[in-house]
């Protein structure tokens, strides 16, 4: 697993630039090409429609051809969305995402380090099996007890209520991926550091962490996308509108303005914009992040 993920991260760009023609160049792949163009249409048509419609006035929306560019482009829809506490929801989403992903990655890294460096002990082996079990179970099934726990801890309607389960949900896969990478760090490096008098903590942050940085970035992106897009936890753990995150706000906004299609689509564009910006900035890293641990 470790090596396969490294490959997705490091070799994809390299392979693109290698001059050797791939296996498939000799004869054109007609069927693949057809599927490729078909899929392009299926993806691009709705996205094009979302973007152009979000700039149309509600009044002209019905008059215009849906695929025509707006005859009288307007930002009114975006103004409406932003005036509907969008900034608050955005801030909530950022707090929950950062608040969950940073501890999740740090805790997972520490646990992965312990499992790799001392994993023959029974306690750490049990810990590892527990995390592996967490991978096989649909975690959505645990929301009722989570709801109960959050109420009993008096955390209902707080951002922390969404943060804590998000950390727990992120741990199993993060530990697995990070452990596979830490395992690839040569043991001699740890030994020589130890002989130089460096303790466990120093070995962890000065040696293992820098050497596995691509994996850390991948795991961070993967978890951040999942937390950012999570809908179920805010749905069951909040009631107060001021505690909503973006996906839940989007749903409420549609409930409120279902007739105003351009405004609903403007809210979709605005909630997606942060991730699209990241996609433009670092597409390869983001794509390898999306498939964290799954790339073969």
């Amino acid at each position: 697993m470790g090596t396969t993920l490294t490959e997705t991260i490091e070799q994809t760009p390299a392979r693109r630039t290698t001059p050797t023609p791939g296996a498939m160049t000799r004869r054109p792949n007609w069927l693949g090409g057809l599927a490729g163009w078909l899929w392009l249409g299926i993806v691009v048509v709705p996205i094009y429609w979302i973007v152009i419609t979000s700039f149309k006035a509600q009044a002209t929306y019905y008059a215009d051809n849906p695929f025509a560019l707006p005859s009288d482009p307007t930002l009114d829809n975006y103004v409406l969305v932003i005036q509907s506490d969008f900034v608050q929801y955005f801030v909530n989403s950022v707090i929950v995402t950062v608040g969950a992903v940073a501890p999740a990655v740090v805790f997972s890294f520490m646990a992965a380090f312990a499992i790799v460096r001392g994993g023959s002990g029974r306690f750490l082996r049990l810990t590892n099996s527990l995390f592996l079990m967490g991978l096989a179970i649909p975690l959505q099934a645990t929301i009722i007890p989570i709801y109960l726990i959050i109420i009993r801890l008096h955390l209902y309607d707080t951002l922390l209520a969404m943060i804590l389960p998000s950390i727990a949900f992120a741990i199993p896969l993060s530990v697995l991926v990070l452990a596979n990478f830490i395992r690839d760090v040569p043991k001699e490096l740890f030994e020589s550091m130890r002989i130089d008098g460096a303790g466990t903590w120093v070995q962890l942050w000065r040696l293992a962490f820098p050497l596995t940085r691509p994996a850390v970035v991948t795991v961070t992106i993967y978890n951040a996308l999942h937390v950012w897009n999570n809908f179920l936890l805010p749905l069951i753990l909040t009631q107060d509108p001021s505690k909503r995150t973006l996906p839940l706000a989007l749903w409420n906004f549609q409930g409120e303005y279902s007739v105003n299609v351009p405004a609903v689509l403007a809210s979709v564009v605005l909630t997606t914009l942060p991730i699209l910006t990241l996609y433009v900035l670092g597409r390869r890293q983001l794509l390898s992040g999306l498939t964290a641990g799954f790339g073969k």
């Binding site: 693109r16 490729g36 380090f113 989570i146 897009n229 809908f231 498939t291």
Partner: protein, 313 residues
């Protein structure tokens, strides 16, 4: 934190470590590093998992006290015709979305692993659905498919202006289409990676033997992708149990209960009908279905390679 370490008898710990050639007492120095992750995971992962089983033997309306009522919830849930229906809809969504996604993902993965020049340009757009949240995708398609305000009405085309989310069969079809729209890019990435690992020499040999494009695909590409297909299918099948948010926003399980999958059934019984005991029983069934599927797919996968990939997933 030391209490977490104490359950391990020192003698056994040393024995295990000697076997692996590690110095004595090493685990003692490292175990505390795993403690924060373990505490959070136990509190919000393992305990809730045990808790859901316990809650399925209780009655709780989300406000009052929780009272133990034995098998009452189970009796109610198992005799409710809603359960087999939810299982059937879950199975339909699972099977049909697999049937749509797999051929398309294989074709696109093979296509993207090739070297047509325009391919890289197309690829930029391909993966955009992966970035959107299920809520955003569902909100978009709900607006797009609205019979009065959506795309069909705007274009004035009868065929497109149907009540897509109001007719049971159409709604199920829409769910499967939207699920595929969201997840084909992810599986395309997996297949693209798989195809790139097939040795070029195999294609050269096939070409020397005069095998055509289609023959090559079925005799080399597809068999070589065996483990990729198993990985991708495992993720598709396991993932289809968790389509809660997409279906919740898109159809809320309707019309009627046409798209009421198991996860939605759990939510509605628990958080809308306030029958947490019943909902917990459904949650236990959801876990059991998930575990059964994981075991089944591991068996179908056969060899150890697929098993290790499943561990990885």
């Amino acid at each position: 934190m030391s209490t977490l370490v104490t359950p391990v008898p020192p003698a056994e710990r040393q024995g295990a470590e000697r076997g692996a050639g590690a110095g004595p007492g090493r685990e003692r120095g490292l175990a505390w590093l795993a403690a924060p992750a373990l505490v959070v995971f136990v509190a919000f992962g393992a305990i809730p998992l045990v808790g859901v089983l316990l809650l399925s033997f209780t009655t709780w309306d989300t406000l009052g006290t929780i009272s133990v009522t034995g098998l009452e919830s189970w009796r109610a849930v198992l005799s409710d015709p809603g359960l087999p229906h939810a299982l059937w809809v879950t199975f339909l969504v699972m099977a049909l979305s697999w049937l749509v996604q797999t051929p398309m993902s294989v074709l696109l993965g093979v296509f993207l692993a090739g070297h047509q020049r325009y391919r890289a340009v197309l690829a930029v757009f391909y993966f955009v659905p992966l970035l959107l949240s299920s809520a955003a995708i569902a909100v978009t398609y709900k607006a797009l498919l609205d019979p009065n305000f959506g795309l069909g009405a705007g274009l004035g085309i009868e065929l497109l202006a149907q009540d897509w989310l109001g007719e049971p069969h159409l709604a199920l079809g829409v769910v499967i289409f939207v699920v595929s729209w969201q997840f084909i890019p992810f599986h395309t990435l997996i297949y693209q990676g798989g195809v790139r690992q097939i040795p070029r020499s195999m294609y050269e040999a096939a070409e020397l033997d005069g095998a055509g494009r289609i023959r090559t695909f079925f005799s080399i590409t597809l068999p070589q992708l065996k483990y990729t297909i198993i990985t991708s299918s495992t993720l598709m099948v396991a993932g289809s149990l968790t389509f809660f948010d997409l279906i919740f926003v898109l159809t809320a399980g309707g019309p009627g209960d046409a798209t009421r999958v198991l996860a939605l059934d759990m939510y509605k019984r628990g958080f809308q009908a306030n029958l947490m005991g019943h909902a917990s029983a459904i949650a236990v069934i959801l876990v059991l279905v998930g575990l059964a599927l994981a075991l089944l797919l591991r068996r179908i996968g056969g060899g150890s390679s697929s098993a290790s990939q499943l561990d990885g997933a």
